[in-house]
């Protein structure tokens, strides 16, 4: 039984003067604990696809099944990390990370302690009473990760979560996110336009072609790379090979 199933997802945006088909016929299965990536040039509907999987957007056609049931955002099965941290600037870090639990009424002394412990594990032990403004970009994105994990989602969506960070912070966070997700055995979907990031972090990479977005090709990442941390994976000889073949595929998608 597959954990997550996408069946024939199509989505069209309507405006007054026209309509744009963002996605056509996306079907795929994800196993529990798997880390997959959607890679593609801008305008291939990656974020639309994530919103549909998260149940935030109803697809024009097709269905999304999580453990054989249609997804609902109400059920907190899904955690979503955005391009920027979107920590609430008027809340302290503690209030921010407990937001999800508070919103769905699961804030107990126990869940609170668990979340604060998670914050400590991200080496952010002493910032509970600070405001987001007082933290660096990398720290803020780590807080956002804690906030997302606090509600214990079954499936994690990562919508280019590292794109706004500097390179060094990005590499460090990739390692941290990867090891955290592995230790919690979370299923994750990453959206990115960074080939290296997709190869280093995922088990499978789906290449999407643009206008309208559809699945172009799937790359299976070999076990040798998957077992390494994203940072070490980057220096593996097979990494480069994969990088090059994905690069060529992407090039072929570019309109002349």
């Amino acid at each position: 039984m597959d954990f997550l199933t996408l069946k024939g997802i199509c989505h069209t945006y309507f405006t007054k003067s026209s309509f744009t088909t963002a996605l056509t016929d996306i079907s795929l299965d994800v196993r529990e604990g798997e880390f997959i990536s959607f890679l593609g040039p801008s305008g291939c509907g990656k974020t639309t696809l994530l919103s549909i999987i998260a149940g935030l957007l109803k697809p024009t056609e097709g269905s999304v099944l999580l453990e054989n049931k249609p997804v609902e955002s109400k059920k907190n099965d899904i955690g979503y990390m955005l391009q920027q941290d979107y920590l609430f600037p008027w809340k302290t870090i503690e209030e921010n990370i407990l937001l999800g639990l508070k919103v769905n009424g699961r804030l107990t002394a126990d869940s609170k302690a668990k979340t604060l412990h998670l914050l400590e594990k991200m080496s952010l032990g002493k910032v509970e009473t600070s405001y987001p403004k007082q933290l660096s970009g990398g720290m803020r994105q780590r807080v956002a990760l804690v906030r997302t994990l606090a509600t214990e989602p079954k499936l994690l969506m990562l919508d280019e979560p590292f794109s706004a960070l500097d390179y060094q912070t990005k590499l460090k966070l990739e390692d941290l996110v990867s090891s955290t997700l592995k230790s919690f055995k979370k299923t994750a979907i990453l959206v990115t336009h960074d080939i290296g990031e997709a190869v280093a972090m995922s088990d499978r990479v789906f290449l999407l072609s643009p206008r309208p977005g559809k699945l172009h090709k799937t790359f299976f990442i070999p076990e040798e790379i998957r077992s390494m941390s994203p940072f070490n994976a980057r220096s593996h000889p097979m990494f480069n090979e994969l990088f090059q073949s994905i690069w060529k595929e992407l090039e072929s998608l570019e309109p002349e």
Binding site: A54, L56, E72, S73, N76, Y80, W90, G100, Y131
Partner: protein
């Protein structure tokens, strides 16, 4: 060692510079104040300006003492203050509430849009006579004046800022399964506190306008009544006294709003 001392010296110099600038600003502020009132006094004394119309600071001061001692100023002032504060609070709260309702129902906001524009364009003080006839020449109608003058503009400004909250904050909440009222409470309202506070600042001034005009019309008590009475008996000392009292108390209200701003808006920037 010497470098360290140098830096300390430079820092001290910088601090004295700041202090000197502050002193200079205060000095000129005081100078303007004194120049204004003394030239007013002198000009009036030598009849360079008509003392009947422009009165003089000393006459106003004498009248102030008289009005304080006979207790009439306190009575008028307390009425006006009560009306203004209530009008201000009712206007701002109902404006914000209306904005929340509009945010809640996009259809309603589309339906009401032209009416809001018309109501906003209309000079609200023109409603004064109708209010007084409808609600009676009482405290209620004056408070209504103070409120009505600020409610529509508050609604428009606050609603606009509700709509401009970054939708990604809502997305974060929606992925947690938040209801619309939770979204409002956790994201929309706190994100708009700065805007609400700045409308409060505008509304302080507006409510005074509404209340004073209301008192002009009702003409039974309050600072607005003192002005209109002074105008009718040609006692401009009384008019100017009322004006100065209004200026002082409007400023105090404004400062209180600023104090509230510091309390409400906390994001670690202070």
């Amino acid at each position: 060692m010497s470098l360290n001392n140098d830096i300390k010296l430079l820092h001290n110099k910088y601090l004295t510079g700041l202090k000197r600038e502050k002193k200079l600003v205060r000095f000129y502020q005081l100078l303007i104040f004194l120049l204004f009132f003394s030239s007013w006094e002198i000009a009036s004394h030598h009849s360079w300006i008509d003392p009947l119309i422009f009165s003089s600071p000393s006459k106003i001061w004498d009248l102030l003492i008289i009005k304080i001692l006979d207790g009439s100023l306190a009575v008028h002032l307390s009425f006006t203050l009560l009306e203004t504060v209530l009008g201000f609070i009712i206007g701002t709260l109902s404006g914000t509430l209306l904005a929340a309702i509009l945010w809640w129902s996009p259809i309603l906001s589309k339906v009401l849009d032209p009416y809001l524009v018309i109501l906003n364009a209309m000079p609200k003080v023109a409603l004064g006579p109708i209010l007084i006839v409808a609600l009676g020449p009482t405290l209620t109608s004056i408070i209504a004046m103070g409120a009505i003058i600020s409610v529509i503009i508050t609604t428009i400004v606050v609603y606009t800022s509700f709509k401009e909250v970054d939708p990604n904050y809502l997305k974060v909440l929606q992925t947690f399964g938040a209801t619309r009222s939770q979204c409002f409470k956790e994201a929309i309202l706190p994100a708009c506190f700065p805007t609400i506070i700045s409308t409060l600042k505008v509304n302080v001034g507006l409510s005074w306008v509404g209340v004073i005009v209301g008192e002009f019309l009702v003409s039974s008590r309050g600072l607005g009544y003192m002005i209109i009475y002074g105008f009718q008996v040609f006692d401009f000392t009384l008019v100017l006294l009322s004006l100065l009292v209004i200026a002082v108390f409007a400023t105090i209200m404004y400062q209180l709003v600023e104090l509230l701003e510091k309390k409400l808006i906390k994001n670690g920037s202070a």
